[in-house]
């Protein structure tokens, strides 16, 4: 209503008379019923996501269903996204706020997509580059001269065991296995028995191991990413991950 009245005097704090452009619409006060409703919805979705994950594990391990891995990821991430939108829109009140904040937030999502997309493209296509200039690559990741700090751990029978590797080369897992056998003074068979126990491997848990063949064999990763096959030497066949060839390998 003041829009057309001439300013009576020049205001140095507000030289463009923005104060006459419109009223502030005041802060939005969210009703407590809305806030409580959102909390209940969030709790419900938390229960739902746990339930679907457990149901899926049950169907795979006890019913022998074959559910592709992406289903698990898609369901969990969709529910998480719904929960996140509820928190952002109502709890953080983005729904009622200046849209500028929404733009700031959308920028984050965009930047995150860039991070993921570009890094993923890089990792996924290195094989091609390295195949092309195969001869000039110096493969790293051997662990040569890595210093392991060592430390005391509590063994599964409650005894303290001093694990000391010092400088080592080769796979960390392999070195830890050797060091443990030495420190505990046990046989290899006993090691694998304890290994299965520590990893909760029981007869009905085979699906956990058979999932191992989902791993792609990739070539030409940088030295920090270990190139060696994911096996521990002398792993008994019943624990060893299935060979990739069984599932149409050829990667």
């Amino acid at each position: 209503m003041h829009a057309h009245t001439a300013p009576s005097s020049f205001d140095p704090v507000d030289p463009h008379n923005f104060s006459e452009l419109g009223e502030h619409h005041g802060h939005h006060i969210t009703p407590w019923q809305t806030l409580l409703g959102v909390l209940l919805a969030l709790l419900f979705f938390t229960g739902l996501t746990v339930f679907t994950a457990q149901a899926e594990t049950y169907l795979i391990s006890d019913m022998g269903w074959h559910i592709p891995n992406w289903v698990n990821i898609a369901i969990a991430m969709s529910i998480a996204t719904v929960k996140a939108l509820l928190v952002i829109a109502i709890f953080m009140a983005l729904k009622y706020e200046n849209p500028l904040y929404t733009v700031v937030f959308l920028f984050c999502i965009f930047a995150f997509a860039l991070f993921l997309g570009l890094t993923g493209m890089d990792l996924d296509n290195r094989g091609r580059v390295y195949a092309w200039k195969q001869e000039s690559i110096n493969f790293g990741g051997t662990g040569v001269n890595v210093q392991h700090p060592g430390g005391t751990i509590i063994d599964y029978d409650g005894k303290k065991i001093e694990m000391k590797l010092g400088g080592f080369s080769g796979s960390l897992a392999q070195n830890l296995k050797d060091a443990y056998i030495k420190a505990a003074g046990i046989t290899e068979d006993e090691y694998w028995r304890r290994w299965a126990e520590a990893n909760h491997i029981h007869e009905h848990d085979e699906h956990l191991l058979s999932s191992a063949n989902r791993s792609l064999r990739r070539t030409g990763l940088s030295g920090a990413l270990d190139l060696s096959e994911p096996t521990i030497e002398h792993m008994p066949p019943e624990y060893a991950p299935e060979s990739a060839d069984d599932h149409g390998g050829g990667h």
Partner: protein, 232 residues
């Protein structure tokens, strides 16, 4: 001398009973308190954007290492107890609700429930941290389940399991640090509220921003929980 006292007008007689939020005067380069609130809030949203990008780096590391070693991630995730993760999710969700309620109470000048809600939020923050430390970090650490080259557990389920634990400790560790920082900010708000009645209908900028920070902490956990505990 706190900020409230510092900003109180010199015309106010000493010992006045006016609560802090009524005595608050915005910085002189702002036209109104409203403008100051908007500027502070935009600045805080920009800061939240940088926080999201910080965690984006960690999520990116998760996604890439998962792509490379899916079975190591499946084996590692199997070591986590979904009940502790789920309980912590519930704790954080409740605290997000109470902090939103405390801001509502500030807007309505309900000083008593503003403080009660803040106290519940801070208790939830400590409950989260305690559960994380006592039932997850410490038992794992004593069994040698540690990140990266610190990994000393003689029974890795997969040769790349230390990589999974690096991602796990990295992501949850940075998140737990944010829980502590958020609890400190809210504790500071509580102190100012008790001491000065600092927040009310016309001034609650700091409480609003601390609340936004706390919601972000909740938001990050909403994604970390399924990624770490549920996806096999």
């Amino acid at each position: 001398m706190t900020t409230i006292d510092h900003r109180s007008t010199p015309h106010e007689p000493a010992g006045t009973a006016l609560p802090g939020w009524k005595r608050y005067v915005p910085a002189s380069h702002f036209r109104t308190a409203e403008d100051e609130f908007d500027a502070c809030k935009l600045g805080f949203w920009l800061f939240l954007a940088t926080e999201v990008l910080l965690f984006a780096g960690l999520f990116c590391a998760y996604a890439m290492f998962r792509m490379l070693y899916p079975e190591a991630f499946a084996v590692g995730s199997h070591h986590l107890d979904v009940r502790w993760g789920g309980l912590n999710t519930v704790v954080l969700l409740i605290s997000s609700f109470t902090v939103a309620m405390s801001i509502r109470c500030a807007q309505l000048d309900n000083q008593k429930w503003l403080r009660i809600n803040l106290v519940i939020t801070i208790l939830c923050a400590f409950a989260f941290f305690f559960i994380k430390l006592a039932f997850e970090y410490i038992p794992k650490w004593t069994h040698g389940i540690r990140p990266g080259v610190l990994y000393t557990n003689p029974f890795p389920g997969h040769p790349q399991e230390p990589t999974w634990w690096s991602v796990y400790y990295g992501a949850t560790g940075v998140h737990a640090l944010h829980v502590l920082i958020g609890a400190s900010l809210l504790g500071w708000c509580l102190y100012r509220s008790v001491r000065h009645k600092a927040y009310g209908p016309t001034h609650y900028t700091m409480l609003e921003n601390a609340g936004l920070y706390w919601h972000l902490v909740d938001l990050i956990w909403i994604f970390l929980f399924p990624l770490l505990y549920l996806i096999h």
